[in-house]
């Protein structure tokens, strides 16, 4: 808990730390907190207490190992968000992955070993390809340094930049996940212990977005522009695909997993539109999505625990006996599909605005329309799920009802408060992200190219 306090404290001001690490190859231990890092560290710092509070009563075998690994993962995540040195970034990237592997394999569901292994192989493949890309870019930097400022100046020619771009993109796309690299995701979210799933979907998936914003867009800006349409098409295909599957799902966990995939796809597509409002929208939405999805997981976890099932078809009428839970859940779910007044609306509005205003693609209207369809689909499956699970007649399973425990109430209440605070007063976050997104867009050269 003291670590959590410390991480909260860290967000107070811009911090920098720089120390020599492997001097012979010009790699240094260099971390800096910019707007992007700030928002994601805030997310991590909020997410961890939420996760621990909401699963306060859960008993784990060998709980000391569990919490040690969770905190180790947190260290990795924080490192990824802060690292300003490519090699350090890679180190933390893996440091976040290894504890996740052990957590899921040790405390997960029935098919955990195979599923987690698939997850691990997927992400490890991605990350090691990213390593090749990092090394290649490093060799093309004028000063032979892993520092991010050196990476901005790397002199890659067009063809090599293209494949370096794809090597890196694959790593980030696997984390998001972007279709068609998503097949690990529903299984892993389903089989992992819920506390870990919360972190995986709420925080870890953001590593991919961060990677794209910080390491892809400004460094390989030409390829980023060149392949933007291809990637956006992939992302939007994935959104529609995931939404359609989510409609068919009977399993609550898988439903949320696919909806998460759809939301992350929107972020990816928006990034490749390269606009100021879109970029800020993505940053804010990362935070929103993080806390919203944790809220959803909390409720699903307790439904599963109390009623012994995650099947939508077996649940019905929960709202009658546990109105508090129903109310909080509905708020979070509506925030997740972006209803006005909630935080999701702010993020999604900015993102759609960003895609529509995009100057780098000819197909912005198509993209906006298709992405808009997925919002409708999201409303379909979310409302459908709420209707089936919470309303209607109570059945034999749900007659007992379930009053929320204090810790669960607390966690959900915090989330709901955050939902409304950001939904009504997004200025704090807008200010926080403005400078960084301007800086990155400038590096990406959009302004210069199109005279904005």
């Amino acid at each position: 808990m003291s670590i959590l306090g410390l991480t909260l404290f860290k967000n107070v001001s811009y911090l920098q730390f720089h120390a020599d690490w492997i001097s012979s190859i010009n790699s240094s231990f260099s971390i800096r907190l910019d707007g992007l890092g700030q928002i994601l560290c805030l997310l991590t710092a909020v997410a961890y207490p939420l996760v621990f509070i909401s699963t306060w009563k859960t008993q784990y075998k060998k709980s000391h190992n569990f919490f040690a690994l969770m905190l180790l993962m947190q260290a990795g995540l924080m490192g990824v968000f802060l690292a300003m040195d490519a090699l350090l970034f890679y180190f933390f990237w893996e440091l976040a992955l290894i504890p996740a592997y052990f957590l899921c394999s040790q405390w997960g569901g029935e098919r955990r070993i195979a599923v987690t292994f698939k997850f691990f192989i997927y992400t490890f493949t991605g990350s090691i390809l990213m390593l090749v890309a990092i090394i290649y870019t490093y060799l093309q930097t004028p000063t032979h340094s892993f520092d991010i400022s050196a990476f901005y100046n790397s002199s890659l020619n067009n063809s090599s930049a293209s494949w370096v771009f794809w090597l890196m993109f694959i790593a980030f796309a696997i984390k998001l996940p972007v279709w068609p690299l998503h097949t690990w995701q529903p299984d892993t979210y389903e089989q992992s212990p819920t506390a870990v799933t919360m972190i995986l979907s709420g925080v870890m998936a953001k590593m991919g977005v961060l990677g794209m914003i910080r390491w892809l867009m400004p460094v390989l800006h030409l390829s980023f522009y060149q392949w933007g349409d291809t990637v956006s098409t992939l992302a939007i295909t994935g959104m529609i695909y995931a939404s359609l599957i989510a409609i068919q799902q009977d399993d609550l966990k898988r439903l949320v997993a696919y909806s998460s995939m759809a939301h992350m796809g929107l972020m990816c597509a928006t990034l490749f539109a390269e606009t100021q409002s879109g970029m800020q929208g993505v940053m804010i939405q990362m935070f929103n999505h993080g806390i919203n999805i944790i809220g959803l997981w909390i409720v699903i976890e307790l439904i599963e625990r109390e009623f012994g099932t995650r099947k939508i078809s077996e649940l019905s009428g929960l709202a009658h006996r546990s109105p508090a839970m129903a109310m909080l859940f509905v708020v979070v779910a509506l925030a997740n599909i972006g209803l006005p007044l909630t935080n999701g609306f702010i993020g999604e509005f900015l993102m759609f605005n960003g895609i529509f205003a995009s100057a780098v693609t000819k197909y912005y209207i198509v993209f906006t329309v298709l992405a808009g369809i997925t919002i409708i689909l999201a409303a379909v499956y979310t409302l459908n799920m709420i209707r089936k699970v919470f309303y209607g007649e109570t059945n034999s399973l749900t007659t007992a009802g379930y009053p929320l425990r204090l810790n669960e109430k607390m966690a959900l209440a915090i989330i709901v408060v955050l939902v409304f605070v950001i939904g009504l007063y997004p200025r704090i976050f807008l200010n926080m992200t403005q400078e960084t997104s301007e800086f990155i867009l400038k590096k990406a050269g959009v302004g210069g190219l199109f005279g904005q």
């Binding site: 492997i22 001097s23 012979s24 190859i25 090699l87 890679y90 180190f91 893996e94 440091l95 290894i98 052990f102 394999s105 040790q106 955990r112 070993i113 292994f117 691990f120 192989i121 490890f124 493949t125 090691i128 390809l129 390593l131 090749v132 090394i135 290649y136 490093y138 060799l139």
Partner: protein, 455 residues
Amino acid sequence: MNALLLTAVFGVIMMLSSFLLTSKTAIRGLAVSGMVIVLAANVLEMMGIVFFKIDTKDMIAFDRFSLLFNSIVFISTLVYFLLSARDMEKVGINYGEYFALIFFVLCGVTLSSSFHSLLILFLGIEIISIPLYILTGSDKRNLKSNEASLKYFLLGAFSTGLMLMGIALIYGATGTFSTNGITTSPTSALVIAGMLLLMFSMAFKVSAAPFHFWTPDVYDGAPTVFTSFMATIVKVAAFIAFMRLFNDEFGSLQSRWQLLIALITAITLFIGNITAVFQQSVKRMLAYSSISQAGFMMMAIFAMNADAREGLLLYSAAYCLATIGIFAVLMKLKDYSFDGFNAFAKQQPLLAATTTIFLLSLAGIPLTAGFLSKFWMIKAVAGTGKYLWLVIFAVLMAVVSVYYYFRVIQAMYFKEGDGQTIEASLPFKWTLVLLAGIIVLLGVFPNWIIYWLYF
């Protein structure tokens, strides 16, 4: 020079000790202290203090690279003695002789890491090989051990023949044994033929495909305690010799051999990793894993630049220490199959944790020495700017390797089972923990090794 003479002297001392000393503990103590002395003498030489000044007529050159490598090898051997010397008792009655042979091998290692003449290379490789044939067959009542020894001897003798032929051709073309580099131009047919023959025989010694067929059988058949030694220290020594040879003598012909080495590297990575996936015995899996790791080390030979030299040293340290550790744990088990590791973490949490670190290091996960050594290799090859497909192929193969290394971790932590009861003494455990600590520290501060190369 210190180490060269002292290893030979200790070889003789250990040989005599086998009939002068009756207690096995005394023999073991003597061997360990001998190793410490050799290591200390070598470190002193790195600092410029040489005990014996011998005019070698420019046939042996102890430079920083070779001295540093020797230190790595001696540290690894010391660790190996501390962890596994007790297990040698089970092999046979010639306890002292086994140590004597190992010291002789180390003498060969010093030679092959610092030769400056093809003659010394040949002697070094032979001094390494002949004791190994014996050690492989030292479990005399075991038919598999006998078979392995004979196989190793016949194939090894054949590759030595190739090497001699190569040396003779090179001598015929240049008129000298010393490895100052081929300068004659245009390159004569004799040089090319000799170079190829040397390349093939060295590829055999490092068990690079397609010259690897002996490796699984020999490593599997040999007593495990000696497999551990062969698969680590001897293998990296052969790599250093390979590197020196192709750097000093054939460096100017790099464009001629680079494609061939790249192909050998790719085939080695492919065969080693893919075959390892299908193994049921951990010992045999480690044999194939040693082939796949050899594939990674071949990348240093391919690149042959400053990064490659640094990388090969790091790789030697990382690979030797991790593999010695795994073998030390493996030797304590009765069942060598993957299932033998089931629920090992419940039985021996400390040993399981250290084994996990060793396996993570072999798989090349960050924060371990194994990652940085693979990193250096990739950097070296990427730095040549050619054959980038090799890098991509290598990292994909590294992903494959994760599969079989993690199978052991899965068995240890996540599978149910009775778990084998093994006895592990407290010093044994602490040595393993120390070893794991070194691997992690090297994974964070590789400068500790690389620093020594330049200052």
